[in-house]
C-alpha cells in the first residue's frame, strides 16, 4: 500500500477525546464524526482537511478511551494514514481493525512540516517528504497486517478469508 498526501502535524499525547469528543459518540457514521474530528485540538481542522491528507503526530497518539469512533472520525475526515512517533496500543489495533494505515515512525516530526507532501510505502516503511526531499524508514507493516489493511479492516478481512476457506 502506497499513499501520498498533504501533511498535518500535531504534538504528543493526542487523546481520543481530542480526536473525537465524547459529545459526538451518538453516531457510528464516519462522515458525521469526521465533521467534528480534532475540533477541540484545532477548530479549523474539520473544515480544512482534505481527502488523502496524512496526519503526523508525536508520542502516544490515540491515548485515552477505546472508542473506535476515533478511527472512524479520522477516516470520515479523509485522513489516509497516521504517522506517529508512538501510538497508544488500543488505538493502534482499532486503526488496523478498521482499515486505517498507522505507522510507528521515530523522528517523523523532524522530517515533515505542516503542508508538506509526503509519500508513504507501508510495506517497506519508507516515508519520503516530496516537498523537501527528506526521508526516513518507519517500522514496516508486517504482511498479515498489510492483508487486513488491504481488505479494509478486520471484518472485511475475515469475510474474505471465510469465503476463500469455504471454496
Amino acid at each position: 500500500m502506497t499513499t501520498q498526501g498533504r501533511v498535518w502535524v500535531f504534538g504528543d499525547n493526542i487523546d481520543t477525546d481530542g480526536i473525537i469528543p465524547a459529545r459526538y459518540l451518538t453516531t457510528f457514521d464516519a462522515e458525521e464524526l469526521g465533521a467534528h474530528c480534532m475540533e477541540d485540538v484545532d477548530p479549523e481542522f474539520p473544515s480544512k482537511v482534505k481527502p488523502g491528507d496524512i496526519l503526523v503526530a508525536g508520542k502516544n497518539f490515540g491515548c485515552g478511551s477505546s472508542r473506535e469512533h476515533a478511527v472512524l472520525a479520522l477516516k470520515g475526515a479523509g485522513i489516509a494514514a497516521v504517522l506517529a512517533e508512538s501510538f497508544a496500543r488500543i488505538f493502534f489495533r482499532n486503526a488496523i481493525n478498521t482499515g486505517l494505515l498507522v505507522l510507528e515512525a521515530d523522528g517523523v516530526r523532524s522530517i515533515l512540516d505542516a503542508g508538506d507532501t509526503v509519500r508513504v510505502d507501508a510495506k517497506s516503511g519508507t516515508i519520503v517528504n516530496e516537498t523537501r526531499g527528506r526521508s526516513l524508514t518507519a517500522k514496516p507493516v508486517p504482511a498479515f497486517i498489510q492483508e487486513i489493511l488491504d481488505a479494509g479492516g478486520l471484518m472485511e478481512y475475515a469475510k474474505k478469508k471465510l469465503q476463500t476457506d469455504a471454496r
Binding site: 481520543t16 477525546d17 481530542g18 469528543p21 465524547a22 459518540l25 485540538v41 485515552g64
Partner: protein
C-alpha cells in the same frame, strides 16, 4: 493527584494549591469498587456536601451497588447530600449527569482528564483517590482528607 489535562501529570496533593470545585465524582468502572465507596463514605459520614458542589456517586457494577446499599454506604452518601446513580458510563466521559460547563472544575476518582473529557473543553478535571474526592466535596475545594476531620 493528576492535574489537568493528562493522567500522567501527577503531583502530591500538597502542591495542588487552592482549587475550588463545582463537582466531585466518586465512581466509574475503574474506581467505583466497594472498597472505594467505603473509603469515601468513611470520610463523608456525618458531614454535608458543600453547597456549591455536586457530589455524584456511581458504583461500578449492579452487584457493588447492591452491596453498598446493604452496607449502608449509599445511605451515608445520600444523607451527606450526594446523588447516587446507576452503574453505567456517565460523567467520566461527559456522557450524562454532571456534564461540566465552561470554566467548571471537577475532582474525580475516574482515570482520564484530557481536555473536554467530562464536558466543555474549557472545563478542568483533577484526578484523585476516593478519600480526596469525598473530602473535597465537603470542603468545596481540593483538600487532603485530614483537613475535613
Amino acid at each position: 493527584m493528576a492535574l489537568p489535562n493528562l493522567p500522567s501529570n501527577a503531583c502530591p496533593i500538597s502542591e495542588v494549591g487552592e482549587v475550588r470545585i463545582d463537582q466531585a465524582f466518586l465512581g466509574s468502572c475503574t474506581n467505583g469498587c466497594l472498597e472505594d465507596l467505603e473509603i469515601g463514605a468513611k470520610v463523608i459520614e456525618g458531614k454535608r456536601v458543600h453547597p456549591d458542589v455536586r457530589l455524584i456517586v456511581i458504583p461500578a457494577t449492579p452487584t457493588i451497588y447492591k452491596d453498598a446499599m446493604e452496607k449502608g454506604i449509599l445511605k451515608t452518601f445520600l444523607e451527606a447530600g450526594a446523588v447516587v446513580s446507576t452503574p453505567t458510563c456517565g460523567p467520566c466521559l461527559g456522557g450524562y449527569m454532571g456534564v461540566l460547563g465552561d470554566g467548571e472544575k471537577a475532582v474525580s476518582s475516574s482515570n482520564r482528564n484530557f481536555v473536554g473529557r467530562m464536558g466543555s473543553p474549557k472545563s478542568e478535571v483533577y484526578l484523585a483517590n476516593p478519600a480526596v474526592v469525598a473530602a473535597s466535596a465537603v470542603a468545596g475545594k481540593i483538600v487532603h482528607p485530614d483537613d475535613v476531620q
